[in-house]
């Protein structure tokens, strides 16, 4: 944990208001868990990386708003931002870049090695069984939308043509399907 090793997460986050370098120390501690949180919920390494970067950019920009409420409050604060970003992603199926844009941070494209490393976190066999059960329980239109989007990797434009609906409706079906899947897998 380097020179910041003895300090609590909350102390680092509060101190980062005046000393932004403290945020980098906090980053080292939080990054693995945060990236794992996103990859297990999105099952997509690049999306997980984008959400991680956007969450940390938002946290960095808002760090002075944090108040130390005791052990664990820094983590709760960061994951509340993460949960909000994830919810917005599941609703729109697009990772926002507002916080990164404000800070002038560029999107980072993952290399093949990184993708493999991140995807290694996913226990595909176990996930596969659970996903299959949850998938079967979805509504027909949502199953179809997820098949096209997730399995076949179609764009929303292509999906809309295939399904005979608008891009918005296709997005909504995928989003609702994913939310329902996520709820069942979490449960």
């Amino acid at each position: 944990m380097g020179e910041q090793g003895g300090r609590r997460d909350e102390e680092l986050l509060v101190a980062s208001g005046r000393r932004p370098d403290r945020f980098v120390a906090l980053y080292d501690r939080m990054l693995p868990g945060l990236l794992a949180y996103f990859v297990r919920r999105t099952l997509d390494a690049q999306v997980a990386a984008d959400l991680t970067a956007e969450t940390l950019a938002e946290a960095y920009a808002s760090r002075r708003r944090f108040r130390d409420r005791g052990e664990g409050s820094a983590s709760a604060w960061l994951y509340a931002i993460a949960a909000h970003k994830l919810a917005r992603y599941l609703r729109r199926l697009r990772v926002e870049d507002a916080a990164r844009s404000r800070l002038g941070m560029e999107r980072i494209e993952l290399g093949v090695d990184d993708v493999e490393r991140i995807e290694a976190l996913i226990d595909f066999e176990h996930v596969g069984r659970e996903v299959r059960d949850a998938f079967d329980a979805l509504r027909q239109d949502q199953r179809e939308a997820l098949r096209l989007r997730v399995i076949e990797g179609r764009s929303y434009r292509e999906m809309a043509k295939e399904l005979g609906c608008s891009e918005e409706t296709a997005r909504a079906r995928v989003s609702r399907g994913l939310r329902r899947l996520a709820a069942q897998l979490d449960g």
């Binding site: 991140i118 399904l163 609906c165």
Partner: protein, 369 residues
């Protein structure tokens, strides 16, 4: 390898190093440039307390699990109102959602903002028209928190909005609309080639490589965007108000001018002026009436909407309007089928027309040809 070890290894990825580098750059630039001012700290403290109160609830509710419901204020109609980002989920959002436009805060009904989206199966050919109409945008009423006092409109879609994604062939694209209803698609093919396609209201299309694009060529080298992302953001955020954007105001197609001229002649003023656009039929409901929207298919069908202003006193007074009102505000509308161009609805009114509801093209002076 244990799950914890795999997780720890994420800190050693190239992604982790690059993101760390970006945050270090932020930190060092802030440390160099900024001395916190007292007023900023006071504002940050106030905002921080507000956020901490909200997030404190999250922590109390079990750390990582956010609260399921937000307690919203309620107006006299029993409708909740507030800011959508404070909601814990889409379902939790209030009935009236805070918006800001034209420098004025207000609230729009969630039902106006989000839908209802059409649920019927659309013919493939109509899907892109439907999405294009969404990008061109239309307005919804903006109210005070009471939900009844209208204080303006809020635009959904329109210049500055965008939609896009990744195609199965590996290309990335983004669509946006300019002020004249032209849909601009910036696309990066799998081999990195960047093209810009413009589809005008009349359906005519042009495609240019980014290096040959007339809008971008007008920019100085220093301000010219280079990467696909930069080009996309330029068309979305800068282009709509930048003088270099060459998409000129469209000229009404000849067939439309003929239809509008015939209607103007019949209504008594062949030299009327006309404005027009291509939109969902539901956008015409304020003057055509909700009763015309017999089904979702009709509601979301694309129609040419033409609004003609002129001296229609004769027609309007025969329909019962006072001569003064008919002379001052007379206007007639035409709705025409997108493909057959046949008139499917028409009417007249002696009350002022709220032009803020549409992004109409024109003004086309009829009777000049």
């Amino acid at each position: 390898m244990q799950r914890e070890d795999r997780e720890r290894e994420l800190g050693e990825t190239q992604f982790a190093r690059e993101l760390r580098g970006q945050l270090e750059t932020q930190a060092s630039s802030v440390a160099r440039a900024r001395q916190p001012r007292r007023s900023r700290l006071v504002v940050a403290l106030v905002v921080g307390i507000a956020v901490a109160i909200v997030l404190g609830g999250v922590a109390l509710a079990g750390g990582l699990e956010p609260l399921r419901k937000t307690i919203w204020p309620t107006n006299e109609q029993g409708h909740t109102y507030g800011k959508a980002p404070l909601a814990k989920s889409v379902e939790d959002e209030p009935d009236l959602i805070a918006v800001a436009s034209d420098g004025k805060k207000g609230y729009c009904y969630k039902t106006d903002l989000y839908g209802p989206a059409p649920s019927f199966r659309m013919p493939p050919g109509e899907v892109s028209d439907y999405n294009a109409a969404g990008l061109r945008g239309h307005a919804v009423p903006k109210y005070e928190s009471d939900g009844t006092t209208q204080i303006g409109v809020f635009w959904l879609g329109g210049p500055g909005s965008a939609g896009g994604g990744k195609s199965g062939d590996g290309s990335e694209y983004e669509d946006t609309a300019d002020a004249h209803g032209t849909i601009i698609t910036t696309k990066k093919a799998a081999d990195g080639a960047i093209t810009i396609t413009r589809e005008a209201l009349d359906g005519s299309t042009t495609t240019n490589a980014a290096a040959d694009d007339p809008s971008l060529l007008r920019l100085s080298k220093a301000e010219r965007p280079v990467t696909w992302r930069e080009i996309t953001l330029w068309f979305r955020d800068v282009g709509p108000t930048h003088p270099a954007l060459t998409s000129s105001e469209p000229v009404a197609p000849d067939w439309l001018v003929e239809r509008m001229s015939a209607a103007a002649r019949e209504a008594g003023d062949p030299k009327a002026t006309a404005r027009w656009t291509l939109q969902y039929r539901r956008c015409a409901a304020p003057f055509e009436g909700e009763a015309a929207l017999a089904s979702e298919e009709v509601e979301y069908s694309l129609v040419w909407i033409a609004i003609l202003h002129g001296d229609f006193t004769r027609q309007l007074t025969s329909a019962g309007a006072s001569p003064a009102a008919a002379g001052s505000y007379g206007w007639i509308y035409l709705l025409l089928d997108k493909d057959s161009h046949e008139v499917i609805s028409e009417g007249a009114s002696a009350t002022p027309f709220d032009t803020s509801l549409f992004r109409l093209q024109g003004r086309t002076a009829l009777g000049e040809k």
